[in-house]
Symmetry: C2
Subunit: 356 residues, 2 copies
């Protein structure tokens, strides 16, 4: 059995659970490597992946005996057999934040469970700490994202639309070994850069535009996340103060991020420095990155918890002046005992593309 | 108040519900036109859209007084005020197939609801019957999809990868007034066409390949869905029998689809004709199309219900020979009293692209 399933069985013991139903496909992938529709049952004796006929062969082909996961076809079971899975189990865990109310009722009925018990995102919280293989995959995703950025600096031309640039990002990822976008890229130029969550439009790139590009690829299930605000032709004077302030805080945050750092204190440090200069941090300072693009931990001024070694998260301060422009600078970083390592490594000084 | 909200209030009366919480964003869009994160509360006296500060201005800008929808900021409410929304309501409906178990508990707690009652997909079932505006939007989505198909016949060249063609589809949609893909397009060439749900690969198009292209755009929220299997250079003799059989059944199905038709009987007609020739219908014959790409009704041999005027659905028989090739031909159609109207109108006879 792999380390992650062993961890889950230990965790279940601590929670006095004799069984668990894992429904969230991201959690199933995390625990087993399986990418297929189905449900993972952790019973007293076995780990069983219940799926439909389409997937049995494919899933079996990626598992070995050492995985100790039985792949079973859902439709082969009778009601009686379903009831036997969790026989004599007092408490069976489920994912209350993923399972719908209908599914919850169906589980109760189908498995005849005495006490279907909430697990309070136990797996999602464990996913915060990455193992070596996970770090390798995220590192690779970040490398491809950096390569894409270098490519974009040569690709971007005056007259292209934001949408065209967004297409090019997706195409680059899929052509260079990634699965594709980890999320829909943001390409926000000129005034559009003042919207933190802008969607690419038909607006054409012009000389003097800042362009905020927030993008990242997915590699073997794992995400990268990077933002740079670049400039076409020249850096407008009016934006320099804000760019410098965002960059200063991004670099300062990178110094603070390490095992034991308090998330609230780091976030408030940026909030306070922005306020001192008359600006607000309107979104959170960062978030965990892994199989999901947004996962635990969330970095904001109300999160009074502490960073741990092998967390992977984003460092992304930003300032936005509505109707004018905005600047965000973001890296994906790996937390270590003594500091953090930028996994995305693209330049953060003023970047000017000629655009001709 | 618009006709859809009036319908919902009538439906609630029939179900003896004095209030309802609508959480599924597709249902909220259907009922109100609102595209934003939030929750729609139907109380005894009011329709209230609870959202966060980011969306209030935008949502208010698309609503008029006649909509009778109050847009309120979630965070402005105290626990006491939340409890007042459904005061003296015996039964309040919720979407048990969308709401998670956690949300369910939160609703119970936050709104202090006496009986939070399942609504059994009442809104999803109502969405089956489209009004004039919805039909217009789907028709437009189908037109753009047809245009894209014409474009592809000129675009496709030997040596391009399936992925490149899939990109081109997305790009065409976004550049021609659609929001983008209604779903990730399938471009499956050669042997890959034998997988009904193939994902575009790096395989390059070659002379003699069949290419199954399953695609459709989204226009103002509404989807189109069309499939054609086309040929590069020539039509391989071995595939002709299957192509002809699929096309015959697709045309025959189109004749059967009309108000009052029994879904089971139509589906079994195709299943039986396929079996007679030694083949199986391995997926359903079709599905409803609207704000979701797959919605009610589902056309398969176990659905003993009847079609109604103004339903929009797909007609998509297919035959797949594992390891060899496959053929699927699909249109989006509008059900009328006397028959059905193909909303996607591209040619269905053998289509050969030169590919040079």
């Amino acid at each position: 059995m792999n380390a992650k399933l062993k961890w889950l069985r230990e965790k279940m013991k601590m929670l006095d659970m004799q069984g668990m139903i894992v429904t969230n496909p991201v959690n199933i992938r995390y625990l087993t490597g399986i990418v297929a529709e189905g449900t993972l049952l952790i019973t007293r004796k076995e780990n069983i992946f219940l799926t439909d006929a389409r997937y049995v062969e494919e899933v079996n082909s990626i598992l070995t005996i050492e995985d100790e996961i039985l792949v079973q076809e859902f439709h082969n079971y009778t009601q009686e057999e379903f009831e036997s899975f969790f026989l004599f189990c007092e408490n069976v865990g489920f994912e209350e934040d993923y399972v719908t109310y209908s599914q919850y009722k169906q589980y109760m009925h189908q498995y005849k469970i005495n006490n279907l018990q909430e697990t309070e995102k136990a797996i999602e919280k464990q996913r915060m700490i990455k193992d070596e293989k996970e770090i390798e995959k995220i590192t690779k995703a970040c490398e491809i994202t950096d390569q894409c950025f270098s490519y974009l600096l040569k690709f971007i031309k005056v007259g292209q639309s934001e949408k065209e640039i967004a297409f090019e990002i997706q195409k680059f990822f899929q052509m260079h070994g990634a699965e594709g976008n980890a999320f829909e890229p943001i390409v926000a130029s000129g005034k559009n850069s003042s919207k933190p969550h802008a969607i690419p439009t038909n607006k054409k790139i012009d000389i003097g535009d800042p362009i905020t590009i927030d993008f990242g690829c997915k590699y073997e299930g794992y995400c990268a996340d990077m933002t740079r605000t670049i400039f076409v032709g020249y850096v407008p004077e009016a934006i320099k103060e804000i760019y410098d302030l965002v960059l200063k805080n991004q670099l300062q945050t990178a110094k603070e991020l390490k095992e034991g750092a308090n998330i609230k204190i780091v976030s408030r440090m940026v909030e306070n420095d922005f306020k001192l200069h008359g600006y607000d941090l309107v979104h959170s300072l960062g978030h965990g990155v892994g199989l999901d693009i947004h996962e635990y931990p969330y970095l904001h001024g109300k999160n009074d918890s502490f960073l741990k070694e092998k967390m992977v998260l984003t460092n992304e301060p930003g300032i936005y002046l509505p109707g004018k422009f905005g600047v965000r600078i973001e890296d994906t970083v790996l937390i270590t005992k003594s500091g953090c390592i930028n996994l995305t490594k693209s330049d953060k000084n003023y970047i000017i593309v000629e655009g001709k």
